[in-house]
Amino acid sequence: MSTTWLVVAAVGAATVAIKATGPVLLGGRPLPARLTGIVDLLAPALLSALVVTQALADGKAISLDARLVGMAAAGIALWRNAPILVVIVVAAAATALTRLLV
């Protein structure tokens, strides 16, 4: 097997295993009480980390670029109670427009 196919197989197998672990081992049962107080904060913690890295990171560098204009536009749309579809389209359009003009 070539390196390419070995990487495809190894990355695929590792990802499938990582994704399956929680649902297969713990699935369908309530989490132990000690864990629930922690896990219910996972969504705010990880979503916030995803916002920060996807809006600001460019590889290992912090990059303040056109994405920030898109995020500002998304913020205004959210403040005006726009539906999520509109928020996403507004963010992409504002970012694209900024890249076109700057």
Binding site: V11, R29, R67, A93
Partner: protein, 221 residues
């Protein structure tokens, strides 16, 4: 919240409809990149169909394409996907049914399907997760095939601002999650950890480290 009507797979698909366009666009660029990195036309499509984790695939392929070792490529992908460990634990109570069915549905968990299925306070809707996951999976694999087989259809997805679609979605989804002071603290600490580690660690580590912010929930649990 009062009892809303039960949500369906279709609601999950609808929740990510706009994003599926962006995911398809990135699928095309993944197919193009992988092809130009010398992977051939089939391996990129097989990888998208079996791995279904965009950032890890981009990382592994670009490491291979720039002459990196197999170990480096696989390590980067595993670090990037490590967050699916805790994410899988968070959805586990809501995925019912036999183990094989939980195993299959767990593969549809990606950041976006997980995020739209979150109902707050640790609750998740399995139907939304599956409907959204299948929609994004289809867009990702079809996009990869188009990029790998078709070549330059779209150009650079960033020119269309598609890279900003993802943080915008996550921003829209994190705000309703912040219903308590603990959730606010977790969000602020998680974002701060991710930002602080970005220049210092390989990609993926900042995100997995940010999940430590949910330990602010330990004392009062």
């Amino acid at each position: 919240m009062q009892d809303p009507p039960p949500r369906t797979y279709r609601d999950g698909a609808r929740a990510v409809a706009a994003l599926a366009v962006a995911v398809g666009g990135f699928g095309i660029s993944f197919g193009l990149l992988a092809r130009s990195a010398g992977m051939g036309w089939l391996a990129p499509i097989v990888m998208s169909a079996t791995t279904f984790a965009g950032s890890a695939q981009f990382a592994a392929v670009s490491i291979l394409g720039t002459g990196g070792t197999m170990v480096a490529a696989v390590t980067a992908a595993v670090l990037l996907n490590a967050r699916y460990g805790p994410i899988g634990v968070s959805v586990a109570p809501w995925l019912k049914g036999p183990a094989w069915s939980r195993f299959l549905r767990a593969q549809l968990v990606v950041d976006e399907s997980w995020a739209v299925s979150a109902e707050g306070e640790g609750r998740f809707d399995a139907r939304i997760l599956v409907g959204a996951g299948l929609t994004l999976y289809t867009a990702w694999v079809a996009g990869t095939a188009a990029g790998s087989l078709g070549g330059e259809i779209l150009g650079d997805p960033n020119a269309f601002g598609l890279d900003a679609a993802f943080p915008a979605l996550f921003l829209a989804l994190v705000l309703p999650q912040i219903r308590s002071r603990r959730a606010l603290v977790a969000a602020v600490v998680g974002g701060a950890i991710a930002l602080a580690l970005t220049p210092l660690t390989p990609a993926g580590v900042p995100i997995i480290a940010a999940s430590a912010a949910c330990l602010v929930g330990v004392r009062r649990s």
